[in-house]
Symmetry: D2
Subunit: 360 residues, 4 copies
Amino acid sequence: MAIPTKTLAVRLFEYGGPEKLIFGEYDLPPLGTRDVLVKNFAGSVSRWDVKYRAGDLARYQLPGRAAFPLPQQLGREAAGEVVAAGNAVTRFKPGDRVIGVTHPEDLDSVEAARGLGNLSRNLAIPGHQAFGSYAQYLVRDERMWLPLPDGIDLEQAGVALWPFSSSHRVVSERLKVRLGDSVLVTGASGGMGQATLQLCKLAGARVIATTRHAVKAKVLHELGADAAVVTADTEGARAEVLALTGGEGVDHAVDYTGNPELLRFLATVMRLGGSLVISSEQGSEPMPFRAADMIRLELNLLGIRGARMIDMLTVLKLLGGGRIKTRIAARFALARVGEAHALLESSPDLVGRIVVLPWA
Amino acid sequence: MAIPTKTLAVRLFEYGGPEKLIFGEYDLPPLGTRDVLVKNFAGSVSRWDVKYRAGDLARYQLPGRAAFPLPQQLGREAAGEVVAAGNAVTRFKPGDRVIGVTHPEDLDSVEAARGLGNLSRNLAIPGHQAFGSYAQYLVRDERMWLPLPDGIDLEQAGVALWPFSSSHRVVSERLKVRLGDSVLVTGASGGMGQATLQLCKLAGARVIATTRHAVKAKVLHELGADAAVVTADTEGARAEVLALTGGEGVDHAVDYTGNPELLRFLATVMRLGGSLVISSEQGSEPMPFRAADMIRLELNLLGIRGARMIDMLTVLKLLGGGRIKTRIAARFALARVGEAHALLESSPDLVGRIVVLPWA
Amino acid sequence: MAIPTKTLAVRLFEYGGPEKLIFGEYDLPPLGTRDVLVKNFAGSVSRWDVKYRAGDLARYQLPGRAAFPLPQQLGREAAGEVVAAGNAVTRFKPGDRVIGVTHPEDLDSVEAARGLGNLSRNLAIPGHQAFGSYAQYLVRDERMWLPLPDGIDLEQAGVALWPFSSSHRVVSERLKVRLGDSVLVTGASGGMGQATLQLCKLAGARVIATTRHAVKAKVLHELGADAAVVTADTEGARAEVLALTGGEGVDHAVDYTGNPELLRFLATVMRLGGSLVISSEQGSEPMPFRAADMIRLELNLLGIRGARMIDMLTVLKLLGGGRIKTRIAARFALARVGEAHALLESSPDLVGRIVVLPWA
Amino acid sequence: MAIPTKTLAVRLFEYGGPEKLIFGEYDLPPLGTRDVLVKNFAGSVSRWDVKYRAGDLARYQLPGRAAFPLPQQLGREAAGEVVAAGNAVTRFKPGDRVIGVTHPEDLDSVEAARGLGNLSRNLAIPGHQAFGSYAQYLVRDERMWLPLPDGIDLEQAGVALWPFSSSHRVVSERLKVRLGDSVLVTGASGGMGQATLQLCKLAGARVIATTRHAVKAKVLHELGADAAVVTADTEGARAEVLALTGGEGVDHAVDYTGNPELLRFLATVMRLGGSLVISSEQGSEPMPFRAADMIRLELNLLGIRGARMIDMLTVLKLLGGGRIKTRIAARFALARVGEAHALLESSPDLVGRIVVLPWA
């Protein structure tokens, strides 16, 4: 097969509505000596893609991350098959199944030396600072790919690595969840929430998921939650969590909403010495925690940003063993990625992730 | 020697000014089978004693702690010599030098099983829920005493265990300070601050102490700080901390002020992935940290309350080896404890602790 | 109901064969103020009981443990219902379901202060230094009982706490097994082995169990092992373990055999930086590990002795949630405990534990 | 200045006596785009160099390390100044002071992802698999150099990084030595032993050093040991260690001798739950530890191999702060490196390291 030099892709040249996502044929970059050319079979559309497209970029401005560039080819996740490899490539050969690195680290950084490569600077994250996966073919340095174990469905691979790797960092490193622990998860029906829920269960914990609306409790149980607590009635919800934990409160909590009321609620249901992971924000007000809360509970309030190589490798092991699975809400062909964006914008409560299938 | 049945002591029968501290001769409780009667040679007067005396008790209302009782004999720390021991006492005999347990744990609690005995409930802390050390003789269960190693000055023993044990928990457990780390300490000239500073130095860390007033920088250096940063000029202070840490920010910070402006400052000088211990509060506003700070820095915000037996045992080892030392600001005879209270109230910046010498 | 003062029980007055286990009616000790009298519905017979009975006591001579006394009432595990409680008892009342503490700690010890209460001295372990559960009624200090959660079958409770608590210490503390790890277990069909296998699976690990005999592989799979490797052919077994772990070797291994050949094998299948728990001994030769193995692999060789309160509490949570289960090999009435001993002695490969049902 | 293309150096073309070290002028490799050319002011001669030279290479045959090549330019450590940098070099410019990386990691390895880059494979360690520092000029990839902080003496830099980085890994990672801990070090007067002793002291521990000969105790005290125990009389030595540790035994021990008798001794002076690092070997017999020792003590027996980037970075911080210092036994000009080898061979008890000064 001749090495393709062009690809069908969807690109963004200016911020705006879904109509700014321009489907067309574009040139591929030349294949560098360390590059790998991959035929991309599956990727995702996420709420981050929507924010980027709309120009709502405040949250991307992290220390050490490049400004948000245009034109851009969105899409952080990719899974496919190697078509060609540069002369100096040692890890891959044509025909290999691969998955795109979603959380690159600067391995030479002091952060990586500390085991915090997820915080390293000067990263070019696919779909953020570098070209993402809204395309049929992708050309990237060999370090931006990992081998995809046999037996993993490509569609599943295309939507797994981002949420599961971040969640794995939350569960295994930030919270060090252990057998028999209890974990409360807010926003559990979202992509990160579902991944966290699954990993907590796999690690032997009990998961209490919260929702504002009683009608959504059923979905949370379907997703594997041991209990679903409706937080509309704060006092009732608190009593319920205490009853579920022998009166003690939960060992751990993870917030995926940034909702100040929900955070205030969390401070009332943590056990003494418990840990609460802050992963999301709404607005720019201070979080509703007082120093007295920190002292009274000896609370651990833990930030989280990204994931590390070890998180991705572990997720691939779990994927390969068929132990984690992503719920798919909808599938779109590449040409119809704009419709995927529109769906996300009109469906704040969509349960499951959106797959892009460039060859469908 | 006949076993004394009365003691000179200072007691509080109602809240109010220093004049409410009533010096007199009081009955000792009978010596129970597990009790030890100790001749108390040294104790402390602390700012907590002053708050208690004044009836400013909000901070004492921790979960699982008994309400604040009257009459009370204040004084959390004590060091002395065993005079008599009940029949069932196995650990001590007359003549043994002892130090009063400042941080009792409920060893049968689930918190203790978790290694968090400092958070256990139903504690009777001397000078808080139980009678403290403002007396010549003290009768307490044998578990409320620890052997005082030879070579420790009793006066030093009387002011060491409270601040150093809590600080040890901060340094060794909450922050896990390691060789070569940098630690920023606010309120470093206070009792806890000085203890923390010494323990950080002993653990091989570099300490940056802050002060609002340039005139106090000299004292901080005398106390062992590697650098003293004046925070009146926030921007300048920030630049200085970054310069001291190779541009990275500090690995750890400990706040002993509760001052919101200082906390805001701290969020600007932490390195990525750093840890900040919250130990004090002012008012009841939320702390000035936004979710975005937690995420951007992957910050660890850690509460601290009390200390554990292992902290006290380690402090006693360090005391016995002559490796830690408390600066004494003033010494008072038992009858003049009220003057000690007055001194503390009139000297917000007093550097060093106040010793009570019941037999002076 | 009148408080019983006598109990049917099986006692040992001199070492010897199963016939030395004397069934009869014996006086109960008077109920002390902190004692709880329990009607015992289920306990276990273990290989340790057999060794004790036979006078093969070398392994009981641990530092800080009392010499092995006679007469003795064997049986480390018990589960039943409170019949009466002394005046000072605060934790239990008649009718409460309880389980006997199998791993008491000396909470006042320096070992407990370090979080290593399992190593504390001066312990009176039921069935070892104190009277065990071969009886219809048991009188023990309230600290020697824990509440048994609803929904736990008494028979299961009677055989769960010993092996699962020790295994929990291995899995959660010594190895810190995490989601996605691989664990090799030798002697996996024994009581400890089965418990370890279950806990590893619950913690999200993959378990490779070994056996010398191909015919036993089926049982290992039934017990939940992800793979069963036959070690008769050492080279083949090694190749198999490497294939199962992507060529790396296992993250962790636990040996429950003490077999030197098996230990030698383990040193060839550990990954770099892996951990190997030593739990059993055979003979008194040095283990077959060379300093070069330690260095080459950067191996962690970890001893294990007993369990802590937190292990027991976690096991009770898991039992209460129906997440662990013990295979029962046989059930015996109290009068027939000698037959249970005989069965163990004649069945080195018995899979499952033996229950004593004192009221059957 | 013109870029040099040749260097005076000492090379080894065949194994044998010190006379096989051939001093002469040799070609430098061309400066690659990522290479840095350094004028080397100081390096070391170590006992490993001697073994290599003599062809005693068994210990170099670690998994994943290339066979030991000839011709070779020995010398693992180097410190100097950048003379020229390739076009693609981003970290250094002429005039920068640098120190040679002694412990390279394969950052793309699974071991590095696990935080165990020291165990990664395919490493080219200077003086082992790659050309070392017995030369006036050195050409290496920019990743093989680290910035040398101001204020560090070049001579000290030339002998610090190897022993201190490995020791830092022992102290901070393998043993996690904490404030107040006790550490026993055997072979404490050797290079690794001295470094370990200093780092333990800096971390707030007490160090007990052992020696076979009473006459060497004085040196151990000079080197900073809190106590020096003569192990010729095993029973007396044991009593002494117990007395020094309140009857408990030491928290940690590090063996730098591989001597079986000494290892046997160590098993008698560890506290319950203590940790013992195995760093050296003598012969190929099993270590003298029985499974019963592992269980009785709940011993942690820990291998150690190499160090990581974070260890080197921390050592550079400590060096820069003037907090660690290496005792120099002798200095040699480059042409006289053979004499340095001879000195090491004839002086088994030499205290201090040997510096090579290529420009002296």
